[in-house]
């Protein structure tokens, strides 16, 4: 059965028209019609406007992605509220951020204190407040999202931070958005959330990042390499070191989150968001060295099977190829990453680790297990 594309005359020529043919269904047309009623356009050309100021709720937003995203949204003129328990400060000056910028941001950012695990509270309090758009940056399970959807029946868009971890391991990469997902993955909560969103009458968008990096990363991705490089230690890499992974800069991810806001091309769509190029494990070690101005690192390959690391992780990446194509986001959203890998790692180094800040103390215990055995083998 062939699916048909309907082009809305209402869209002006400068808007990129939606091309998700097989997703065409009555719901989408309804959505467009609803929007038309909501947004009054004095000049006659009806337009789904991403630029009109919206009342935006970010679930989370004080840790990593949200820090950058909230700033972009505030700059665009939206009213932005962070829903957090209040454990971390709502606004913290970023390294490299000017006083003026920070002052402007902190005077405008709003806080809604609460625990999102308290579903009744979430439902009643959000219903009372009302929001146009929700960015769900820290949601893990579908049950966490239900009360939000229940509370906000007129929501314009629910933008969800999912994960490329939902993809089923493949023999022929890269991962495309249409690929099979793994219902048994440890990210299945994200998957179930995406399914919930799709099953409800809400305009949703899901973003699947791969590995995120950048200043203030709380996941020891680049930090893991920087610790070893700074200590002048060899970098232990499992197996061949030619496993291919992919890093995406947090600022590029934040930009992508902006690009989907109010974008008809993003309606009920999933997007992989990460860097334009992939990288081998060995290559990443070298790129981190370049970023921090360190000499070329000594890389030691080892077979993880030969060791018992207990509960500790000897390496911050999955020991397999893991990367996703960002072609869809590039063509449908007109988004493209600004940072290439070394530039992005340099940005991270200059604004974070290079200033003496990091999230996790260096722990070389697994390295020593690996290196100890290799030393023994060599002698």
């Amino acid at each position: 059965m062939a699916s048909l594309m309907v082009v809305q005359h209402r869209q002006p020529s400068s808007t990129v028209l939606s091309s998700t043919l097989s997703d065409f269904n009555g719901a989408r047309v309804t959505f467009s019609v609803q929007l038309r009623r909501k947004v009054w356009q004095p000049r006659g050309a009806l337009r789904v406007s991403a630029s009109s100021a919206k009342k935006i709720l970010i679930m989370g937003g004080t840790r990593f992605i949200g820090i950058f995203l909230s700033r972009l949204l505030v700059k665009e003129g939206h009213q932005v509220t962070l829903f957090t328990r209040g454990k971390a400060p709502i606004a913290q000056q970023l390294p490299g951020e000017s006083e003026a910028d920070f002052s402007d941001f902190s005077s405008k950012i709003l806080h809604f204190k609460g625990d999102r695990q308290d579903f009744d509270f979430v439902k009643t309090s959000l219903a009372a407040e009302g929001f146009d758009v929700v960015y769900d940056i820290n949601g893990r399970e579908a049950v966490e999202v239900e009360p939000i959807l229940d509370a906000l029946p007129n929501l314009e868009q629910y933008i969800y931070c999912s994960s490329a971890g939902v993809y089923l391991k493949t023999d022929y990469p890269p991962h495309y958005e249409v690929d099979a997902v793994d219902p048994k993955s440890r990210h299945r909560g994200k998957l179930e959330t995406e399914s919930l969103l799709a099953s409800r009458d809400v305009n949703w968008t899901s973003i699947r990042p791969v590995y995120i990096y950048g200043p203030l990363n709380y996941n020891p991705v680049e930090e893991w390499f920087f610790h070893r490089l700074k200590a002048g230690r060899p970098i232990p890499v499992p197996n061949s070191g030619i496993q291919i992974t992919q890093l995406g800069h947090v600022k590029d991810l934040a930009t992508a989150f902006i690009k989907v806001l109010g974008n008809p091309n993003a309606s009920k769509e999933v997007f992989n968001i990460s860097g334009d190029k992939y990288v081998t494990f060995d290559g990443l070690a070298r790129a981190c060295a370049k970023a921090g101005g360190f000499p070329e690192p000594e890389i030691v390959h080892y077979s993880p099977k030969e060791f018992d690391f207990g509960k500790k992780k000897p390496f911050p990446f999955r020991d397999q190829h893991f990367f996703a194509s960002i072609d869809k986001a590039k063509s449908l959203l007109g988004w493209t990453p600004e940072f290439d890998l070394v530039e992005g790692l340099t940005d991270s180094y200059n604004l974070d680790f290079g200033r003496g800040t990091f999230r996790k103390e260096a722990d070389f215990s697994t390295d020593d297990i690996i290196l100890g055995k290799s030393l023994v083998l060599q002698s």
Partner: protein, 403 residues
């Protein structure tokens, strides 16, 4: 400027396109719309007002058969394919010629050498009747003498699928220019990309300056107004002149281990040649878009070396034993022992998707099934094959081979 407009009540699509005058060398971009009935779709480009194109990928190999095609054809072109008489790329010209003929263009294939040569007894040359019955012309000769071989002929488009360096291609380029050919296409190679820590190879990445193909690309860019270069990797498909998947089938079918140098995690692009052909055809039908561009001529998925072995086994419905080895440690030349590069060799067809609105249909699991059927049909599974180098490696590894 093309516009695509549809009314919401009916589902009629109509196009208006401005064509430039027939004598000018540029044609308005072709808009091709096809609707795939497959639930799996990846849309690689959006419909925008200028330029407009939509590309859908279809799951089924025969794209035209399973989709409704509303295709506006460009003017009928007269295309010359200068084709190598052997090697892994030879089959490209064969598929391209047939696809162009099916699309209504005129095609002449100039194969290097002589029609009577033994080389012509091998595929795809032994199937050239398919080109002739499709309305194409097949001639033989030396490209260095192309002016004599094709005296008096006129062409709109020339594809050189033969030369690996400027010495071989220059005569064809110069002659094409002299007779007013409007578009020159060149089959280069993704092998010219410099090794990188950051795959994939994408158009614009650094290439090895002294590679022969690079010299050709450079000369083309200086000589021809409308030129495009296509950089392929490995391909499978009926009519292939060089073994690809057969190397794996040969071992799997005889219960022999598949010997893979290195970790087996190396990625490669193994595309069905129909994808290469469709990309070239897209360039012929969208010359303005293709102009001055380099295109990685590969499918949009990669496979690991181990993965290829497993897929071949699956296609054959047989088990496979993969044995990895370190060629250096064993003093073995991996290039002789194994048909693919033993490091990452992975390019993506980003330019074709973004600029030509092309999308690939290669589906290795399905395509290999077809390939295996043919492998058995021609009796190659029963053929006596010596595996001298394999045995040498296995002996060095002290791996028992159950015969």
């Amino acid at each position: 400027m093309n516009t695509a407009v549809a009314s919401t009540s009916s589902s009629i699509l109509s196009f208006s396109s401005l064509s430039s005058s027939p004598s000018s060398s540029s044609l308005s971009p072709l808009v091709r719309l096809s609707f795939s009935s497959s639930p799996r779709h990846s849309l690689s480009s959006s419909l925008s007002i200028s330029p407009s194109f939509i590309a859908l990928s279809s799951k089924t190999p025969k794209r035209a058969a399973s989709s409704l095609s509303f295709t506006i054809k460009a003017e009928k072109k007269n295309v010359l394919v200068v084709n190598a008489n052997s090697g892994g790329h030879a089959v490209i010209g064969f598929y391209f010629a047939k696809e162009l003929l099916a699309s209504g263009h005129s095609v002449t294939v100039l194969t290097v050498g002589e029609e009577a040569s033994d080389k012509m007894k091998k595929p795809p040359f032994n199937r050239f009747s398919e080109i002739v019955s499709g309305g194409g012309k097949t001639v033989w000769g030396d490209p260095a003498d192309i002016g004599k071989v094709l005296e008096g002929a006129a062409f709109d488009v020339v594809l050189d699928n033969n030369g690996k360096d400027l010495d071989a291609v220059r005569p064809v380029i110069d002659w094409s220019k002299s007779i007013g050919v409007k578009q020159f296409l060149f089959i280069s190679s993704a092998g010219i990309y410099k090794q990188t820590d950051e795959p994939p190879h994408i158009e614009g990445d650094a290439v090895n300056g002294d590679a022969g193909h690079v010299g050709v690309e450079k000369y083309l860019s200086e000589t021809f107004d409308n030129w495009s270069s296509f950089r392929p990797q490995y391909m499978i498909g009926s009519g292939n002149n060089k073994d690809c998947e057969e190397w794996f089938f040969d071992r799997i079918v005889r219960g022999r281990p598949v010997l893979i140098p290195g970790s087996g995690m190396q990625l490669s692009n193994i595309s069905h040649v129909r994808d290469l052909s469709s990309m070239l055809t897209a360039a012929v039908e969208k010359p303005d878009a293709a102009k001055g561009n380099i295109f990685n001529c590969v499918s949009d998925r990669a496979v690991t070396l181990d993965g290829m072995a497993k897929l071949c086994a699956k296609a054959a419905g047989l088990p496979v034993e993969i044995v990895h080895y370190d060629p250096k440690a064993l003093g073995v030349d991996a290039r002789k022992a194994f048909p693919f590069r033993s490091m990452h060799f992975y390019a993506e067809p980003r330019a074709a998707k973004a600029i030509l609105g092309w999308s690939g249909t290669s589906n290795l699991p399905e395509d290999l099934k077809e390939r295996y059927e043919e492998y058995v049909k021609i009796g190659r599974d029963k053929k006596e094959i010596k595996f001298e180098l394999d045995d040498k490696i296995l002996a060095a590894l002290k791996v028992p081979v159950t015969v």
